[in-house]
């Protein structure tokens, strides 16, 4: 009974039905007043029972294979209704009504049962349809989000800002240091090639991920020269641990970006990896300036996508942690090993 229209229709139906009921009894020779009284007792109870059924089915919709359960339910409600009506009628102290009601009890119960079954079926059909519509809507929504994410990812992967700045560096080097220019062309090509090759749902070892990262770091080093230094320290066992492809990359990019653009002077990036409790633990540190960045602890900065991915993969929200203190910002990722 979602809207007022539904309630109105429901009441309208019961009024009509009561009228028909009363009319039939009049035809059988009831006094109109008695006919209406009989009709009201029967139908007020029946309407109440049906409303209760509708209310219940809204919160609990049995699956298709539970149809026998529905049948049973209808029988229970018929018994309830019959008893209710049977014991309400004598309250009017009209022996003609009471006797006639008892005489036609089975006929009345049968009609009530038909109506109850109809109401149950209508409800089941209605709610099933609603559910399907809802599912359809959710499916469309999910598809739309996936498409948006795909586009966003493509753009992210391409990193136009990084790409054009690198090309600009090459353009400068071509004249001053052709050999270095050629080197950078190769670095950039290697980097782009592995970016295109990467599949997000693939798992790679940490050492593979580091190799890929190194390509990126080498280019950044050409661009920023001595200002940027990256120090990677990993325990031997952690290098063979696995992680989803392209998970570490955005974290390191983020660290470099905030190191380079939020501070002045040298930017030392520290990357550490270790194994703890069968999890690969990677920490990335970058300098930052409290005055400029004001990061929130937790998952601040551009780490939302990493956070979301970890959540999708492992159903946990405690795998990414970011924290800034003094002048160092530390991001920690934990990757459970499957």
């Amino acid at each position: 009974m979602g809207s007022y229209l539904h309630k109105f229709l429901y009441l309208g139906f019961w009024f009509l039905w009561s009228a028909i009921h009363a009319l039939i009894l009049s035809e059988w020779g009831y006094h109109p007043k008695d006919a209406w009284m009989d009709s009201l007792v029967s139908n007020v109870w029946l309407a109440t029972v049906c409303a209760f059924i509708t209310y219940c089915l809204r919160y609990y919709l049995p699956r298709r294979e539970r149809l026998t359960y529905l049948l049973l339910l209808s029988v229970v409600f018929v018994v309830v209704w019959t008893a209710a009506a049977r014991y309400t009628i004598p309250l009017f102290e009209n022996s003609m009504l009471t006797d006639n009601f008892s005489d036609t009890l089975y006929l009345r119960a049968a009609i009530a049962w038909l109506i109850i079954i109809c109401v149950i079926l209508m409800n089941v059909i209605w709610y099933t349809q609603e559910e399907q519509k809802e599912q359809e809507r959710r499916k469309n929504e999910a598809e739309r989000i996936a498409k948006d994410a795909e586009l966003f990812k493509l753009r992210q992967q391409l990193q136009p800002h990084f790409l054009f700045n690198s090309l600009n560096s090459i353009s400068a080097l071509v004249v001053s240091d052709p050999r270095a220019a050629r080197g950078m062309v190769h670095q950039l090509s290697d980097y782009l090639r592995s970016t295109l090759k990467k599949e997000e749902d693939k798992w790679v070892t940490l050492s593979e991920e580091f190799e890929y990262l190194q390509l990126y770091l080498d280019i950044e080093k050409v661009r920023f020269g001595n200002r940027l230094s990256v120090n990677i320290k990993s325990s031997e066992d952690s290098l063979q641990m696995k992680l989803p492809a392209l998970l570490l990359q955005p974290v390191v990019e983020n660290a470099i970006k905030f190191g380079l653009y939020d501070t002045i002077g040298n930017v030392d990036i520290g990357i550490r990896s270790a194994v703890a409790e069968n999890m690969l633990v990677i920490t990335v540190q970058n300098p930052f300036d409290f005055e400029v960045s004001k990061p929130k602890t937790g998952t601040g900065f551009g780490l939302n996508s990493v956070h979301r991915r970890l959540h999708l993969l492992f159903g946990r929200t405690d795998l990414l942690n970011a924290q800034g203190n003094e002048n160092v910002f530390t991001t920690t990722i934990k990757v459970p090993q499957l």
Binding site: L167, F224, E291, V292
Partner: protein
Amino acid sequence: MIRILIIDDELLARSIVKEYLAAYQQVEIVQECNDGFEGVKAIVQYRPDLIFLDIQMPKINGFEMLELVESPPDVIFTTAFDEYAIKAFEAHAVDYLLKPFSRERFDRALQKWMERRQGGQIQMYIPAEAIAGQMQLNTNRVVVKNGGKIRIIPFAEINYLEAADDYVKIHCDDGVYLKNKTMSYFEQVLDAAYFTRSHRSYMVNVQKITRLEPYEKESYLALLASGDKVPVSKTGYGKLKQVLGL
């Protein structure tokens, strides 16, 4: 002699501008700067005729740097941001060069500037706020100069703003800063959920308000956590009530 300043955080990016400029004998490169801070100092010190300015730089971006300079020199932007974003301020800068740019493109930009200079055309107003959003630069802050020091004020740290002639006084816990902007500018950039124009000449950070008390007839005072009292007009009171959910 044409005095030129190059401001870019990447050495190679500066070197290419230098290389292209070497072809012009009437040009003197007065200095190269790594960031906006050096840039502000160098502009004051050398009063260059033209600057080549990168946009994304450490701590403060190119637009923020220009805001810190009184009557900034002419600017040619050099940036890797895409054309779409750059279009927004096309009309306001002398020109913009998208990295990587060719010598021909560079010459055209410089030529254009020289012609304009001869024609005595003065321009230069850069609506930083119009483009900052599109370029995903950090916009939740305002950069001010206080004496020789540059202070970056995150919006959340502002207690309230007060109009003062051509300036806006920014009241923070650690002092009052002047910014050469209008109140309506701040009304545009500040999040309406946090800042409310409580009075014709005042804008208040709603989160800092501890109490509202009646003042004269039909006007109020907002008491802030800092102890400041900010005038609230009748209409301002209506707006505040709405924002605070009273």
